[in-house]
């Protein structure tokens, strides 16, 4: 008893922020402990014993010994323990040389433990993550969750919704990171989600998954062709028929490739009949709706037909989906693609062409036109389409209101002192008062290492910490901050650097795809098992390659990655001069086997 101060000092050395949060808790918030038969403190919560009531220390040691034996610790690396309790089991692990991370959702329980046990050894060996939601943990601590997870069973019983889901999520996350899933990714025909679809494809491939893209954008000209009809009914009929054909095309591609998952991005041309047939083929489908559900409402028609539905908004959207029977919804914000959105050293000519003290890139939505009129006295450049060519904005519009491609966007972000980021609205006068989701531009500007002023969004606070993203809520506040930051380049640089670090750590499409797949695998045990068996089969097959002349050499020539494909191997076959090995001849024979669909 009375270990709080000593423990807190140990904690402060490793994690001052957490120490400060714990310190702010009042003594009254601590949980009353009980005394075990051997005189040590122990605990019961909601009628469930967290530790033994006879000898909690010995019980903790035994648990730790079993965990060490089962997972061959500490040789296999750091671990993540789910549940702090009073820390007996963690002391057991620390005594056996195990280190890692502990996740405890209840800050009061952690505070109680600090008061009641000498936890110096635990606080030295383990980093503590306390009081965070599972969603925040998934996003901010994915590396911890991908490690060997040691669930503390009584803690899981107390927190089934947080620690329980994290336990299965950890397994799935490891599965998602191991790659090897065959994914048919359906691009939209056009629109803002098309680049996101491409970023997703690149991310999934980097993770070692096998991605087949249904490039629906190839039909964009077909949709435009509808404009040649005089009557709206004819245009619509043509578009509907073309959409049905494209949707059927996705089904045929699924038939050819037998994917483990069909992933569609917002505006992807998948009709409900196709989704029903994919379900009949036992192919899970997922949709990432990277749109504002209040503005684009077609989700009502498609969401019930997808097995997994992801969106960029939280509870309100979840409730609306629930009303139409969609329960498998997950919040998944958009992100940046650091391979594209990156700091760029610009030439003087580029700085001249794209730079300005104040800039905005995007379409001329009503609220932007309105708010930006109040900035017309600044040295302000506006890039993008659909802006009205009327005073006072007309003289600010660049390139005659041409659409701006991604590369140019990146140059503009890098070249501007202050990048404005105002989420769009068709009805509001300026800043959307109850705006929730965060747009891609927020992450993209940050990934470029550029400074931005972004309008306040309710979901921004959990994506960026204080000091990482400067926000505004009104025109006067915006003007005040523009003036301030134009005068303080050093402060801009600090924000930009912190924002960039946060994006690289948590808000990339690699992270999003990892999370999306892990959530699907956590829900779909059949698919998770299929992936596990595939990995086992893969390992077994690889054990056999030793006796195969030329096979290892051929596989070694493949680009690094956990999932070689036949096409990848065909591409690696020697062409022209080299003498073919036996393995290469066999693959060439395979390449020429006549294939049949059924």
């Amino acid at each position: 008893m009375g270990f709080f101060k000593t423990n807190l000092e140990f904690l402060r050395q490793n994690d001052p922020a957490l120490a400060e949060r714990v310190e702010k808790r009042t003594e009254r918030s601590r949980i009353p402990v009980e005394i075990a038969a051997n005189g040590e403190p122990t605990l019961k919560l909601r009628g469930l014993a967290i530790h033994s009531f006879r000898d909690p220390a010995k019980d903790g040691e035994n648990w730790a010994r079993r965990a060490v034996a089962e997972h061959n610790l500490p040789q296999t690396g750091k671990v993540t323990v789910l549940g702090f309790g009073l820390g007996y089991h963690l002391k057991g692990l620390a005594n056996l040389g195990v280190s890692g991370t502990v996740i405890e959702p209840d800050l009061d329980l952690f505070s109680t433990a600090l008061e009641n046990l000498d936890l110096a050894d635990v606080l030295v060996n383990f980093r503590i993550i306390a009081g965070l939601t599972p969603e925040r943990l998934r996003r901010a601590h994915s590396d911890d969750l991908a490690r060997t997870i040691l669930p503390h069973p009584p803690s899981l019983r107390i927190h089934p919704d947080s620690l329980g889901t994290l336990n299965s999520y950890g397994d799935s996350l490891r599965g998602a990171r191991e790659g090897g899933m065959k994914i048919l990714l359906v691009n939209p025909i056009n629109g803002g989600s098309l680049p996101i679809a491409r970023y997703c494809a690149s991310a999934l491939r980097r993770m070692g998954h096998i991605v087949t893209t249904f490039a629906a954008e190839a039909f964009s000209g077909g949709m435009d062709f509808a404009g040649n009809y005089r009557f709206d009914r004819c245009r619509q009929a043509f578009r509907n028929d073309l959409a049905a054909t494209i949707s059927r095309g996705v089904e045929l591609m699924a038939k050819e490739t037998r994917p483990d998952l069909v992933l569609a991005l917002a505006q992807a041309p998948l009709l409900s009949e196709t989704l029903a047939r994919l379900a009949a083929m036992d192919i899970p489908t997922a949709f990432w709706f990277v749109e504002d559900y209040r503005v684009l409402t077609y989700w009502r028609d498609v969401a019930p037909h997808y097995r997994y539905f992801f969106g960029i908004q939280k509870e309100d959207f979840r409730k609306e989906l629930a009303e139409i029977g969609v329960s498998n919804y997950s919040y998944l914000p958009v992100a940046a693609a650091p391979e594209v959105h990156l700091p760029a050293g610009l030439s003087d000519e580029e700085l001249e062409a794209y730079g300005s003290p104040l800039s905005f890139v995007g379409a001329g939505y009503y609220n932007r036109c309105n708010l930006f009129k109040g900035l017309a006295d600044y040295p302000f450049r506006i890039w993008g389409s659909d802006w009205p060519f009327s005073p006072p904005l007309d003289r600010l519009i660049q390139l005659n209101g041409k659409r701006i491609d991604t590369e140019t966007c990146v140059r503009i972000f890098n070249a501007s002192a202050v990048n404005l980021n105002l989420h769009s609205s068709l009805i509001h006068e300026g800043v959307v008062p109850d705006g929730d989701f965060v747009n891609p531009r927020t992450f993209e500007i940050a990934a470029c290492g550029a400074f931005q002023l972004v309008d306040r969004r309710s979901l921004l606070g959990e994506l960026f910490s204080d000091g990482e993203m400067e926000q505004f809520g009104s025109l006067p506040e915006l003007r005040e901050k523009i003036d301030h930051y134009l005068d303080h380049p050093d402060e801009r640089a600090v924000f930009a650097e912190k924002g960039r670090r946060r994006v690289l750590a948590e808000h990339t499409y690699d992270r999003r795809m990892e999370e999306l797949l892990a959530l699907i695998l956590a829900d779909n045990q059949g698919l998770a098992e299929k992936m596990r068996l595939r990995r086992e089969e893969h390992s077994a097959l690889y054990e056999k390659i030793g006796g195969q002349e030329g096979l290892r050499e051929l596989l070694d020539r493949l680009p690094q990655g956990p999932a070689p494909t036949l096409d990848g191997i065909y591409a690696a076959l020697k062409g022209g001069d080299g003498e073919l090995s036996r393995a290469e001849k066999i693959f060439l024979a395979l390449k020429n086997v006549e294939l049949k669909l059924d």
């Binding site: 690889y542 036949l566 036996r582 049949k596």
Partner: protein, 516 residues
């Protein structure tokens, strides 16, 4: 010769069409063990095929399935590798690849053998066609060359195997199981003692199918006027066709469609006095069973290359310039099917059954098969019509048989006085001279690089000129394509040796063009 392997992975009809080769090989090399490499899905025919000692079956569909659907690329690899291991078990004296696919070429290249004939992949994966007959077989597959081909695939297989045709038909030997089925079928359907005519309705392609309604009318006529009974043959997938035909018959035929195993099909066919058929595998069964066969050639079907391999068969072809059409041509009219009228087919059947001369019908050409003096199968127009338009194909046929038979270029051959293809002879002669000069210069030390460069350009221009020649003179295409394939198959290494082989290509072209 102790170990011979024959790779036959194309169709089950091919397994029938190679029976003469098996027979002759066995006669020539009675001590040799012959291994047949066949597709698993055609294995049903193997009890009927004689002349081989051992069989290795290839489950190609399973491997294909794994190529498409297996999650790991090593799954199809090891699936195929298991088959390859069987191929590698024995060192063969001779491997004859009768399958003209790249897949089979790589499989052949994995086998251990002293000699390969047919298609095989080289050490670097290049396509090699060994033997002149192999090159000729490939030549017939190019463009419209098959229309100028008079040599049946069976004879090409035999020649590819290094043997000469013996004037005997393809052969299968019925099994007890098949005979028992045929007896039971005839008994169940009250057909014992009846004169039977088989009708094969289906084919691999719709354009090769005479309409089932026409078959229905033919069946009625045969039964009404000649007092025969008709049996419909076909696989399970052809049941809808049979249903269409049966629904149009006044006197329903007996349907064996989808009811026969391959052994049963063969034994039941043998009980027929005649088979009227589209271009199908059933047609080859009939030929192997000694059953007179009438082949209805519609679309691209053509009797010269793949007609039934026995004498006394009849082939009917619409008398229009476009028949037979080219492969994969999507004909909007299918006029060739309409021109083969029911009356024309019926009259032909009646004449065949009665052993009478063909009656001749306007709009239809009729051909009868026979073995020529050298033992090759040939077809003679028998409807009394003019067959002078076939003279170019006849000349080609004679030329290939005479020139390729020994596979040896006559020494000091200088050409005939009045060649049929003087321009080609001239170009080939020039090619001989250029390649001879390259061969000569290649022996100089140091190499005359400038001269060789000029000569190389000249040779390439000549080769291109020969190719272009066939565009201007399509009737020369078999020769120019033969030249092109020979030139593609040069395996020599080193400039002088390559030049010698190139010269040989031109010499052969000059020789062949002179003899046309």
């Amino acid at each position: 010769m102790k170990e011979i392997a024959i790779i036959s992975l194309t169709r089950f009809g091919d397994l029938i069409q190679e029976t003469p080769l098996l027979r002759i090989l066995k006669q020539t090399w009675p001590q040799a063990r012959i291994t047949l490499v066949a597709e698993q899905r055609f294995a049903g025919i193997l009890p009927l095929v004689h002349g081989y000692d051992r069989v290795i079956t290839f489950a190609k569909d399973e491997v294909a399935d794994r190529v498409v659907f297996a999650e790991d690329p090593l799954v199809p690899y090891f699936s195929l590798e298991a088959f390859v291991r069987e191929l590698e078990e024995i060192h063969y004296d001779l491997v004859i690849n009768l399958t003209f696919s790249h897949m089979s070429a790589f499989l052949a290249s994995l086998m251990k053998a002293d000699k390969f004939v047919g298609l095989v992949a080289g050490d670097k994966g290049e396509r090699l066609i060994s033997s002149l007959w192999g090159i000729y077989l490939f030549t017939t597959q190019e463009g419209n060359n098959r229309l100028l081909n008079r040599i049946n695939l069976v004879d090409m297989f035999t020649r590819l195997g290094g043997e000469k045709p013996d004037g005997k038909p393809v052969e299968l030997i019925g099994t007890e199981k098949g005979e028992a089925f045929a007896d039971a079928f005839l008994c169940e359907n009250g057909l014992f003692g009846e004169r039977l005519i088989g009708l094969q309705l289906g084919a691999s392609d719709t354009v090769r199918c005479w309409p089932p309604e026409s078959f229905a009318t033919l069946s009625d006529l045969l039964q009404e006027r000649l007092g025969v009974r008709t049996i419909l043959f076909g696989s399970q997938s052809e049941e809808p066709l049979a249903a269409r035909a049966l629904s149009n018959m006044s006197h329903p035929a007996i349907s064996a469609v989808g009811k026969t195993s391959l052994e049963g099909l063969f034994s039941l066919l043998k009980r027929c006095a005649l088979l009227v058929t589209n271009d199908t595998g059933t047609m080859h069964f009939a030929a192997a069973g000694g059953v007179p066969t009438m082949m209805l050639c519609t679309g691209p079907a053509f009797f010269h290359g793949t007609g039934p391999y026995s004498s006394g068969n009849l082939a009917l072809l619409a008398d229009i310039p476009c028949a037979p059409c080219r492969y994969n041509f999507n004909c909007p009219t299918l006029v060739c099917r309409e021109m083969l009228t029911v009356d024309a087919v019926y009259e032909s059947c009646r004449a065949m059954l009665r052993g009478e001369p063909h009656p001749g019908r306007t709009g239809v050409k009729a051909y009868r098969s026979f073995f020529d003096a050298e033992g090759y199968l040939d077809w003679q127009r028998c409807d009394g019509g003019d067959d002078s338009d076939e003279e170019p194909a006849r000349r080609y046929g004679r030329m290939w048989k005479e020139c390729l038979d020994d596979g040896i270029l006559p020494p000091l051959f200088t050409g005939t006085a009045e060649p049929c293809a003087p321009e080609l002879v001239g170009m080939a002669t020039e090619g001989v001279q250029i390649s001879s000069r390259i061969a000569g210069a290649a022996g100089d030390n140091p190499l005359p690089m400038d001269e060789l460069s000029l000569l190389g350009d000249a040779e390439a221009a000549m080769a291109a000129g020969i190719k272009i020649h066939s565009a201007l003179h399509p009737e020369m295409a078999p020769l120019t394509d033969f030249f092109g394939l020979m030139r593609d198959n040069i395996t020599a290494e080193g400039l002088a040796a390559i030049a010698e082989e190139t010269r040989s290509c031109y010499e052969w072209t000059r020789y062949l063009a002179s003899r046309l």
